[in-house]
């Protein structure tokens, strides 16, 4: 099960593990096709050319496989979609809940992974 976005998708927990172990900088947006999530996917699409050192992915929130994101300790207080998690060298560097604007996202990207 994958989201109908223009981003690359993560479909399974195993894929997520492989991704964060093979890529130094990973941003995963775990959500639905709703009004709080879609703007984040759009911003990620647009940032892909600028932040070539970051792997941008989405994941379907309602997939059982997405428990790999939903159950992260960093997401335990989250009560708003999407759950967006930033992985640096396989570990969670930052996480955010609900809609974020471009500036909020680039601030986290720059802080977690260095400037584009």
């Amino acid at each position: 099960m994958v989201l109908p976005t223009n981003l690359k998708h993560v479909a399974t927990a195993a894929e997520l593990t492989e991704l964060i172990n093979s890529e130094s900088n990973v941003m995963v947006c775990c959500g639905r096709m709703g009004p709080m999530c879609i703007p984040v996917y759009g911003i990620m699409e647009e940032l892909q050319d600028e932040y070539t050192h970051v792997a941008f992915r989405d994941m379907m929130f309602d997939s059982p496989e997405a428990s790999a994101i939903r159950n992260l300790p960093e997401c335990r207080s989250f009560m708003g979609l999407p759950f967006t998690v930033y992985f640096k060298d396989g570990k969670v560097a930052a996480a955010s809940s609900s809609i974020q604007n471009r500036q909020q996202i680039t601030t986290i990207l720059d802080r977690s992974f260095g400037n584009a």
């Binding site: 109908p4 096709m33 009004p35 703007p39 009560m79 708003g80 955010s96 609900s98």
Partner: protein, 318 residues
């Protein structure tokens, strides 16, 4: 840095701005579309569009993508995620600069900046967004199953969402600053008939409280000025939309009391060569179809303006 010149600069890449871009670029005008967010505006946030002629059902995301592609294919330059630093509407040659230093000039400007959901602007609101505060019942309602929540607002959205959220929450407190609701009577009747909803009129939230997530709100009774705390897990805010015209305030473009852009039937503002379309203009109904129509009118009149001022641009092809 030398300024790049366009026949028209469109500010806003929602349905109004993209439509204006499609019409102008198809008429061989040089067009730049700027947007502070992503192309699509409020349309991209719509789960399903079922009243756009020609499509029985299409997601707002797909419709936005289609319009953006169409505008690009006709030759529009589109820049997203920009921030406007300076803008000059009044000179014959309009000009603007972006943060980062890029400068552009144009013969016409079309303002299609759209609208956005209103925030309460209360202490703690930003901190608890996604940790108890939400602006979308469909997205986040199920996080509050078996919990106590509040809904803020007195219009149709607030009423309908309050009722819908009783599917999840054990109790919904509906908080509204006025002594009456603005929603349609049938929506009010549904609220009154729902035993899970408690109404607090003439009341407003003055602070959001909690540690890692929202735990309570402080509410002021606006009649007695008494302040008290309500323990809860979530607050959904539905207090309407406002035009994205902050950057126009105090400038020469005429706005009404609601800070919406005033236009005539040709989508012309009070400044020659500056047009406006979409949800940022003063009007009664806000629909994608209307934004598209207004974008068309603005583009055709902008084209006429360009042709009057410049003989080198070819005539539009309809």
């Amino acid at each position: 840095m030398e300024a790049k010149h366009y026949d028209s600069i469109i500010i806003g890449a929602g349905p109004a701005g993209l439509t204006a871009g499609i019409y102008l670029s198809r008429a061989k005008a040089k067009v730049l579309i700027l947007d502070s967010g992503v192309a699509g505006g409020q349309m991209i946030l719509t789960h399903e569009v079922a009243n756009y002629p020609g499509f029985e059902s299409i997601s707002g995301y797909e419709l936005s993508n289609n319009m953006r592609k169409q505008a690009k294919n006709f030759g529009c330059d589109i820049m997203s995620g920009i921030s406007i630093e300076t803008i000059d509407f009044e000179s014959d040659k309009k000009s603007l600069s972006l943060s980062g230093g890029k400068r552009f000039t144009s013969d016409t400007i079309i303002l299609a900046t759209g609208g956005r959901s209103r925030n309460l602007g209360v202490a703690g609101e930003d901190n608890f967004k996604g940790r108890g505060i939400s602006y979308c019942a469909t997205c986040d309602g199920d996080f509050f199953t078996g919990r106590k929540i509040a809904v803020v607002g007195g219009g149709n959205s607030a009423m309908e969402e309050a009722v819908s959220l009783t599917k999840y929450a054990t109790k919904v407190t509906l908080i509204h600053q006025f002594d009456h609701f603005q929603a349609f009577q049938h929506a009010q009747d549904e609220v009154k008939a729902n035993p899970k909803i408690e109404v607090k009129l003439s009341s407003k939230i003055t602070s959001f409280n909690g540690d890692e997530k929202l735990e309570s709100v402080t509410v002021e009774n606006l009649l007695t000025h008494e302040n008290y705390e309500i323990a809860l897990d979530g607050v959904f805010i539905f207090i309407g939309y406002e035009a994205n015209t902050d950057f126009l305030q105090g400038r020469c473009i005429a706005l009404n009391d609601g800070q919406e852009i005033i236009t005539d039937a040709n989508m012309q503002t009070n400044i020659p060569g500056v047009f406006a379309a979409g949800d940022a203009i003063a009007k009664r109904y806000r629909q994608i179809t209307l934004a598209v129509a207004e974008g068309t009118i603005a583009a055709l009149n902008a084209m006429e303006y360009i042709n009057k001022h410049k003989s080198t641009v070819s005539q539009p092809v309809y």
